[in-house]
Structure formats: C-alpha cells, structure tokens
Amino acid sequence: MPGQLYKSAAIVGAAEANEIGFLAEPKTSLELHIEAIKNLSNQTGVPISKIEGVFSTGWSSELCEHLGIKPKYIDTTAVGGCSFEMHVHHAMAAIHSGIIDIALVTHGENGFSARKIGGRGTGNYGRGAGVASPAAEMSMAYGLGSAPSNYAHAMVRHMHRYGTTTEDYAHIAKVTRDWATLNPRAAMYSKEKHPFGGPISVAQVEDSRLIAWPLTILHCCMVADHGGAVLIASPKVAAGLNTKPVWLAGAGESMGHANMLEMEDFTATSASRSAEAAYTMAGMGPGEMELAMIYDSFTITAAITAEMLGLAAPGEGHTLWKDGHAAPGGRLPINTNGGGLSFNHSGMYGMPLLIEAYRQLSGTAEDGVHGDVGKQTSARTCIVNGTGGALSTTGTLVLVADD
C-alpha cells in the first residue's frame, strides 16, 4: 500500500543556469539561482509571480525578496548536498496538506567562481561549528580539512571489511566519465571542453595524483559553478501545464551524524533508512528501479549508497559499475549526466540529481543540449539519493514517469 503522499505532487520542470561548469567570467551564487529560475519559468510557462513556496539552502528569504514574491511557505533546510531531495519531500507535504500548489526548489553555488570573487553561498551549511561546538574543539587539532580528508577513512574501512580494492572503485569513475562523454553540458565532456576531459581508463584513475590515500583526484568530484531549479506542482496544476510531469512516488530523509567523529559504521549511511521510507511510500522496492541518480561526491560514496539503496548487496556496490550494469546500455543506468565526478559539482550536488532524473523520466535527456545520442534511457522509474556533510545526511526520492 503506497503512503499518503504517494503521487501527491509532481516535478513539472527542471532547468539550469545559462552557463555551468568552470566559468571563464565569474558569477555570483545569486546570479546562478536567478538564471535557473528564469529558465524554469520559461520552460514551464509558470510565471515567477505564481510561485507559492520557496525551498533553498538558507537562501529562501533573500531569493523571494530578489524576485519580488511573497510566498506562503518558506523552507531553508541546509544540511549539505542532499538538502534539495529533502526540499522536495517537504514540498510534497506542503502541497498534500493544501497549503500550496506550486513550489520552487532552487540552487545556485559559484564553487569555482568563488575562487575569484568569493561568496560560495552554501547557505548556513558548514557554519555551525566554531567555539561553541565541542565536536570542533575535539577535532580541530588533527589536520583534517576538505571533504576527501574525511571520506578517505570510509573507503579504508570498507576495504578492510569487504576486501574491496581501489581498483574496484576506479571503475565507478571510469563508467561515470563514459556517461559524461554523452553530455555536452558536462565539464569533462571532451578534451576540447576541458584539458582533462574525455574518456578515462581505470589505470588512469588508479595512477592519478593522491589527495587523501586511498583517494586519488579522479576518485573525487570537481568543484565548479552550478545553478539549477525544479518546479513541484499539485496534480491539478500539473494537468494544466504543457511540460510532462514526473511523479513523486516516494520520499524519505534521515541522518546518521553531523561530524564524522560520530559515524558509527564507516561502511553505512542513513540512506538505508531514507530509502526504506521512500520505497514504503512508493509501494515499490529496489528491484523495480530502472535508473539511479546517486550523489557521487567520491567513488566510495556512490558504492556505499548503492548498497544502502538495496541496489547491490553489502560490499558489492562497486560491481554495478565494474560489471557494466551502470554504464551506457546497462540494465541499471546510474548517473547518466556524468555525475559529480565528471558532469558538475558545485559543493552541493543534490540539484543536478533532480534535474537529470526529471529529464530522463520526461524523455528530454537527449535534446541536443542536454545529451548526445545514447544518453536517453528507457527508464520509467528512478531512485534519487543525495548525501550531505561527511556521509552524514541523506534524502531519497522515488520518481515515476507519467502514464
């Protein structure tokens, strides 16, 4: 029996900023937001003035002011890259309860441009630490910095527990790059687009520069510029639009910890719980998923998440890529846009997951802008999972195509 929120709302449009990737001329996060929102309005035919609820990481009031709208529902959940999957969950509840009919979920983050002009703009995320945080007090002496310095510990524990190897995970980077070569919008689409773009081999992944052993740079996502937005609508509103709805069948969210110091099991995330909630709401299981969009901040993130979502047995997540199932033409395509590893990752990657899932299930993943021949799959169902923080928080959605 599907849950109460089953198909209570649909994604009715998904759009990106005009330019994404490593922008030659820097842009601000706000600019990336607005470009995506404007494009979304044009795509769906829904005027910005009709938006009733705004969901974004910490940004919502500033965005509403900038757009000159007075929303009925404001959400600023900012718990890392999975926040956008949670925003969709919250928007479903707000629509189901009758508070709103149209919700905007939006993202803008100048991860690359910030090097030149500052203002990464990740909302409040990451600013909770400091003097008042005992977790920071007891961690700050020990030379950990950016995300890979943390995530490497999970990979080592996974290798210890299951006997997996760096080569196993390297297949994830290789296959994900193969998808990127089918997507002209991907930062690593080709050598012409980026000096390090185009196809890569497993050996290249293994031999690239060490960031935090066992993670080489090709096991890590990029930090580029991205803006994106999706529109969520009630069935009544969706029926009056020209864009295809992609139905929200299930949603769930959970967390394990905020600081990696509190990660109980380094080989597992809360995605097992958020996925269980999403599957239960959808009345479906992992065997019925025909596509997966999985936050791949690092190859290990994708491997563990595939296990948590029930797409592979514990310790065998990497086999989906290694055995070719996740690759173009495989039985369970994963990260068909090229992933955070090779498409785009601005710091928080939850929005690109939603956009690509919408495009695939609405049949618009191959329109000459968003994909070369071979990128559009025949999938009718998709599981989307965002992971935030240091393998900390997760949001999971089950999407189904329109009948």
């Binding site: 950016s146 490497a152 524990r157």
Partner: protein, 138 residues
C-alpha cells in the same frame, strides 16, 4: 620549538579534559545513570539523555578503527604532509580522532586496522596539552 598547528578553542564544559591532559591523563565524560562514556563531550548523555555526567580517567589505550593518509593539505599542517589521520576506538567505548604516530605514511598498506594504540600528550602552549595516539609495538 613553538607549536605551530591549530590549538583547540576551549568550550565551557571541557575544563576537566584539558586539566587532565596537563597531567598526562585522558579524561572522558561518563554518565552516572547509565555508566557509559561518550566522546565528544556533551551537555547531555547521548545514550540515555541524563544530565548527570562526571569525568573519569581513561586507560589511554585503544585500537585503530580506520585511517587515511593526507596528501593534499592546506594551512598549518601542510609541511607535515603526508601524514596519517585515524579514528581510535577507545577501550572504554566511543571514538576519538587523531594524527597517528609511529606509522609510515608512505606505506599505508602496512597500517593495521585493529592495531593497539596508546595516547600521548604534546604541549601546545602554557595551558594546552593535545592528545595524540601512537601505535604500540607488539
């Protein structure tokens, strides 16, 4: 030599920890109701939600839970790279983060998860002694 790495900014409820460290003691918060220790130090027991907490001296021994080798580093730790970071399972329960001593960062495969470690303290300034963990030769 002056200690040139980040020195923890102290909170309001961790004084016994830092006072203990000065004397070479590893102090842990323990709940007087459920008797379990926890780390990092809380205002409430994360196991049973009692606020009846006390500080106890720990054995200062534990085992490696997992580790990594930091190669790309910015800031004060940069000159030390590569170095090994590790999470330590304390004998008393729960887990601490450290920069691991007594291991070769160039040979990460030789570091053993489950290897026994012992705490030691390094003086960072007049008041602060920072705990680090070292692998014990078997």
């Amino acid at each position: 030599m002056t200690y040139n790495k980040p020195i923890p900014t102290r909170g309001t409820h961790t004084v016994p920890f830092w006072e203990g460290a000065k004397e070479g003691k590893l102090m842990l918060p323990r709940c007087q109701d459920c008797n379990r220790v926890h780390w990092y130090p809380r205002f409430i027991c994360p196991h049973c939600h009692s606020t009846n907490l006390e500080w106890v001296e720990a054995s200062g021994e534990g085992k490696i839970h997992t580790y990594a080798v930091q190669h790309l580093v910015f800031g004060p730790w940069e000159p030390e790279a590569p170095y090994v970071t590790a999470y330590i399972d304390l004998n008393e329960g729960d887990r601490m983060l450290t920069v691991l001593r007594g291991v070769d960062p160039q040979k990460p495969e030789e570091i053993k998860i489950g290897a026994r470690v012992k705490v030691e303290f390094e003086q960072a300034n007049e008041d602060t002694y920072i705990p680090f963990w070292r692998v014990i030769e078997e």
